[in-house]
């Protein structure tokens, strides 16, 4: 069986301008969406706050929960039905300032449990216990009154009308730490990949290593000086693009441009669909980087091989031939990966849902970018000559 005929020869390079304009539009939309939403929408991992996943034994409504939460001054909480309606499962999310955060999950828990259960009120009776010498406890009479029979905690648990299935509470400081760590992770991944590509494809190990080292030192120094992290990373990325250009690290430039392209569009689509950024999403973005690179490198590898073999052809022909030769593989692998990511999206359950969604976008965009972004960029230098 074969999807792609072996003698296929589509003119990808000739249509590279269409590719570029499609990419540019997508990136523009992503940036606009980010701008309109005021940056990415951070989940509690990065913004700080409290998230409670609660499952009720009986049907209830969002309004009921909202009313219950009002009694403890949480009016800004967002409440979402989670999963299917028959599950009676809800997500409560509150961005509560730090000091109030402590003990909040308990309070919310209590109020919600109360809201759906019928409670009978009993008067609290004042009690005055006495301190007594335990060796002569019979000598003094305790004035303490037992106001209620002690309910066994076990039975209380069993008849609870609501079950708290997940609590996540992240303080704002931790959120900021995690945000910076995530950015650093992306940045470092890109730098190391740059070294590897420049080394393997153009034998520029030393040049790229020195460049990467300089970048790391620079970022470190500026970070110590208190420059904000996101700004720093964006600046570093732009600077490295300029350096790629002048140092003629063409393969690195092609690959890294494609990666930034993929990440930006994925982030943009996330922003458009109003989804939140959480730690697993960062993992997904890094996997997309790995995956897209995988694709890109396989095409690059063919280009390297063919440009040695076909010395008489022009470089754009070589590139086009290489893309066509690897097309069958590109589509097959994307297909199998897409199959598993789709099953994950459909059957993996709520927590992994957004992760799988990011991966689906990433696989599609990553495949596209290795053909229409990474490879044509190699031509930029040739045109100049």
């Amino acid at each position: 069986m074969q999807f792609i005929q072996p003698d296929i020869n589509l003119d990808f390079i000739g249509k590279r301008l269409i590719g570029f304009s499609v990419s540019a539009t997508l990136i523009l939309i992503s940036l606009l969406s980010l701008l309109c939403h005021g940056g990415p929408k951070y989940g509690i991992d990065f913004a700080g706050g409290t998230l409670i996943q609660i499952k009720f034994s009986e049907p209830t409504t969002v309004d009921k929960i909202k009313d219950a939460l009002k009694t403890i001054d949480i009016s800004g909480a967002s409440i979402q039905q989670y999963g299917e309606a028959s599950n009676n499962e809800y997500l409560v999310r509150a961005d509560i300032a730090y000091k109030k955060l402590e003990g909040l999950s308990e309070k919310v828990q209590q109020v919600l449990i109360q809201a759906v259960s019928v409670t009978t009120e009993t008067e609290t009776s004042e009690s005055t216990p006495t301190l007594e010498n335990s060796e002569s406890s019979s000598a003094t009479a305790t004035t303490q009154t037992v106001s209620q029979e002690v309910t066994d905690d076990q039975t209380v648990q069993a008849t609870l009308p609501a079950e708290v299935r997940r609590i996540e509470m992240v303080g704002p400081q931790v959120g900021k730490d995690l945000r910076e760590k995530a950015l650093m992770a992306m940045f470092f991944a890109l730098l190391f990949i740059t070294i590897y590509i420049s080394g393997r494809f153009e034998f520029k190990w030393v040049v790229s290593a020195i460049m990467a080292l300089g970048m790391i030192c620079g970022v470190y120094v500026f970070q110590k000086m208190g420059v904000s992290m996101p700004f720093l990373i964006v600046f570093a990325l732009i600077l490295s693009m300029i350096l790629f250009w002048f140092l003629r690290l063409q393969y690195a430039m092609g690959a890294i441009t494609a990666l930034i392209h993929d990440v930006m569009i994925t982030v943009g689509i996330f922003s458009l669909s109003d989804k939140e950024f959480t730690l697993p999403i960062i993992a997904a973005l890094l996997t997309i980087i790995g995956y897209s690179l995988n694709d890109t490198i396989i095409v690059f590898d063919r280009i390297r091989e063919n440009s040695r073999k076909l010395t008489r052809d022009t470089f754009d022909k070589v590139i086009n031939k290489s893309i066509n030769e690897t097309l069958s593989r590109t589509i097959l692998t994307s297909l199998t990966t897409l199959i598993v990511v789709l099953t994950l999206f459909l059957f993996g359950g709520g927590i992994i849902h957004d992760f799988a969604f990011a991966m689906i976008i990433g696989v599609v965009i990553g495949t596209y970018s290795s053909i229409f972004v990474a490879s044509p960029i190699l031509l930029l230098w040739k045109v100049q000559k």
């Binding site: 609290t124 301190l131 010498n133 992770a185 470092f188 790995g290 396989i298 199998t336």
Partner: protein, 524 residues
């Protein structure tokens, strides 16, 4: 098979070893006895990051030294005024030349720890500010964090959680992981409680209501007794006017146990003081009969019983309407001792056991469904060669599982996602090889030559492609926390396993088919 090559031996060894490592996870207990660790998100449990408020430890040290200084000055009849603590500094005025001389002597002889921050003499009045040297301050902070960790560990050990993970994170953060904890709320109470036990006399001379309206009289403060009605879950707060001076603290405790009151069948905590504490307690109770003594835990009054008589023997009981569990936990925190400084929770992640089970079920379901699709697809597309790729894929999953068990890595939900992703990407290496072989076959090579050429040309490509994925995974591991780290682990294991299965195992199968079985044609 006539000659068994070295490669076959290696493959069989790896297969055998990985099976050994995988089996214990399926309740078949064989030698390495290493099961795959499930992350908190899969087995349920609690993850806490606490911050030790180490400044408070410094403040209380300075406060205590200030009290010592006050006592010392009183016994030496030194006239002073305005002794108060302001954050880390102790301000005071010494009045009169004679007092200043004596004060200087006391300061030099008994309080060498103090650093003199500023000193101003105005006639016969000395204004002095004392603090602690920076090295001492950082030492106290460090000790506070260490001691807090130790105390929390003791408390959790007594509480009884299997395989807790408690460690320092950075300078003053403590990471606590309690897998499978059944009652997270109770555990959190137990960990977070400072458990500073104090005994303070209740001021009966002044009325609480008046003190509430205005400021409380000198040397007294208002503390509250909070009682929760367990049936209505309503809190009731009762104010008490107590003397600020602490008569006795929990540091003199030697033991705390739960007992049941035979009369009311209510649990209470009996505490035992050491010799010094017992003497102090006897003296307090003797001179304050018929007054009320408040038992204060973390600035909340637990009970304020009336002292009926002098109590000797150094034993007392803390009553209050406890549940058995509350009494049990109180005894634990009292035994383990107070935290040197309060801690607060920076991050909390709790997953109930039922959600964890759900996640595992769904994760495995999507893994099975995804694999079946990929397996069928490969067989349809590549026929016999597809079958070989599927074999390699199965081995790949076994290898990842064995790696997880062998390295004692933790499997998390994103980790399962990582495995599923590897299933998709693992066939990539085989696809690359097969496409190459097809190309070579089209050129007209014999199957054996085509397989040989296909492998030799694809190997470098596969290496390049996988090394870059590995770079991303390693970076993810370095920067990631918890679940994300689990994802990085399975992804890296998957990459390495797929290199092995594609380049060595499937090659071996091809070779043995083509060489030993003398196949003339190849279905690919």
């Amino acid at each position: 098979m006539k000659n068994i090559s070295l490669r076959t031996v290696i493959i069989l060894l790896v297969l055998f070893a990985s099976l050994l490592y995988v089996l214990p996870s399926f309740h078949i207990d064989v030698w390495p006895h290493k099961k795959i660790n499930l992350g908190l998100d899969l087995q349920g449990g609690m993850h806490l990051v606490l911050e030790v408020e180490a400044e408070k430890a410094v403040e209380s040290t300075i406060e205590r030294m200030g009290n010592d200084l006050r006592r010392e000055m009183k016994t030496n009849h030194i006239k002073f005024a305005d002794l108060k603590r302001n954050v880390f500094k102790l301000h005071l005025k010494v009045l009169g030349n004679e007092s200043i001389d004596k004060f200087n002597k006391v300061l030099d002889d008994d309080f060498q720890e103090f650093r003199i921050a500023s000193r101003k003499q105005n006639g016969d009045q000395l204004t002095i500010v004392l603090d602690l040297p920076d090295s001492d301050v950082s030492e106290i902070k460090k000790k506070a964090a260490e001691q807090a960790l130790e105390t929390i560990r003791n408390r959790i050990d007594e509480f009884g959680v299997s395989e807790p993970d408690i460690r320092r994170q950075g300078e003053r953060r403590i990471l606590v992981q309690l897998p499978g904890v059944k009652d997270p709320r109770r555990a959190k109470d137990l960990i977070g409680k400072t458990a500073l036990l104090e005994f303070k006399l209740v001021d009966d001379q002044h009325s609480v209501e008046e003190a509430l309206k205005k400021t409380p009289p000198l040397g007294t403060e208002i503390l509250y007794q909070v009682v929760e009605n367990r049936q209505t879950r309503r809190m009731s707060k009762t104010p008490y006017l107590v003397e600020k001076r602490t008569t006795l603290t929990g540091e003199y405790l030697t033991d705390a146990r739960v007992n049941i009151d035979s009369q009311y069948n209510e649990p209470y905590v009996s505490i035992k003081f050491n010799k010094k504490g017992a003497r102090l307690f006897e003296r307090i109770t003797e001179s304050n009969v018929q007054r009320r003594l408040a038992i204060v835990l973390d600035n909340k009054i637990h009970s304020a019983p009336v002292i009926q008589e002098r109590i000797s023997g150094g034993e007392a009981r803390i009553t209050g309407s406890f549940t058995h569990e509350e009494a049990h936990d109180l005894a634990i925190v009292l035994r383990a001792g107070a935290l040197p400084a309060p801690v607060h929770i920076l991050e909390e992640r709790t997953v109930g056991p039922s959600l964890g089970k759900d996640s595992i079920r769904k994760g495995i379901a999507s893994m099975v469904i995804g694999s079946i699709f990929v397996i069928i697809f490969m067989i349809i597309y590549y026929q016999v060669a597809g079958l070989i790729a599927d074999l390699a894929l199965a081995l790949n999953i076994i290898l990842i599982a064995a790696g997880l068990a062998g390295f004692q890595a933790t499997l998390t939900l994103p980790g399962i996602a990582g495995i599923i992703l590897t299933i998709g990407m693992a066939v990539d290496a085989n696809v690359l090889i097969f496409e190459r072989i097809r190309e070579e076959l089209r050129v007209g090579k014999s199957p054996l030559a085509a397989v040989d050429a296909g492998y030799s040309k694809a190997t470098l490509t596969i290496l390049d492609a996988n090394v870059t994925t590995l770079i991303a995974a390693v970076v993810l591991f370095q920067f990631g926390t918890g679940p994300v780290k689990g994802f990085a682990v399975t992804l890296s294991l998957g990459v390495i396993a797929s290199l092995f299965t594609a380049l060595i195992v499937s090659r071996q199968i091809f070779d043995s088919l083509l060489i030993n079985r003398q196949l003339r044609s190849l279905n690919i």
